[in-house]
Symmetry: C2
Subunit: 144 residues, 2 copies
DNA sequence: CGGTTTTTAGATATTTTTACTCTTAAATGT
DNA sequence: ACATTTAAGAGTAAAAATATCTAAAAACCG
């Protein structure tokens, strides 16, 4: 019950793009270096984020990624679920038909609540707030 | 980011034992049948639950499992973490040294909060309450 | 005591997921 | 045209999940 590496990398990538600002083009190489993400893996992650309309990919020399959403409108939950899919916590929340008891099960109700709370917390945090605290991006300022 | 099958099975097993009552011996075969758990897999799960002092295993004919904790003192969180280990949600919460930014990272703080809330929710539910609602154990009453 | 039943505990096996990596090709600035 | 940069998808290695198998131990029964 933990976030995958791809999810964590996606957050770091968007953190860096948010720090640079919406609409600003940043090269893949730079992001990979600053955020400690394997470059080829970053490609895969960026593709998913593009599908989710969070960023746009520009090819060619001077290519890279551009954040298309305003950091103030973009939450942790959106980025995470773009990569790992919707969070459910337990299988019977995703597919209630897998357990005949799901419509009356007391445990099921706890998972529903837990899921709602977790997603609320992750959805209440926007990237503009995250990057506003300069301390949270200690090595973004360093030269590459 | 979801509970493993072993975790779900553990909850069902303890649900059934709680329904039968603390100190009551129930055979493995019966639990496996009622809770739809592969019998051999149930052995492995029971071993973990015994290590966590939640139940005791009795061998021999008329053997089985006995709940050693009072259902009112036993929470969902205890049972789950006995099987899947402590919940952390993100690697850097389990091992802050894996990311140099962890002591100042704003995202890290969100995960700390999310983890605390999730564990609180799971820890606030005891098994006596779960089994008190007769509807949550629809097929426990059926004959085997 | 000896046989039968029931579970143990560890080894093994299969499948799925994770976490990358490689390769070929496409896009684009100069 | 050509060099640079990324795309897209196939491929792979390792880990985790999900069981299953087997030899043996425990305990009841007659
Ligand atoms: S028993 Fe309850 S919690 Fe478990 S799978 Fe069924 S509905 Fe979900
Ligand atoms: S960047 Fe923040 S959230 Fe991500 S691993 Fe480091 S401390 Fe954790």
């Amino acid at each position: 019950m933990r976030l995958t590496r791809a999810g964590e990398y996606a957050i770091r990538c968007i953190m860096y793009l948010s720090y640079k600002g919406k609409g600003k083009l940043v090269s893949k190489k730079e992001i990979a270096a600053k955020c400690a993400i394997p470059t080829h893996f970053l490609s895969k992650i960026a593709q998913e984020l593009q599908k989710a309309k969070i960023l746009e990919i520009k090819q060619g020399p001077r290519g890279g990624f551009v954040l298309t959403k305003d950091p103030s409108e973009l939450t942790l939950l959106e980025v995470i679920e773009a990569i790992i899919g919707e969070i459910y916590l337990n299988d019977c929340i995703a597919r209630p038909e897998m357990c005949e008891a799901s419509n009356i099960c007391a445990v099921h109700k706890v998972w529903q609540k837990a899921r709602r709370e977790l997603r609320n917390i992750l959805n209440s945090v926007t990237f503009d707030k995250l990057v506003k605290d300069p301390k949270c991006i200690p090595n973004f300022d360093k030269e590459i």
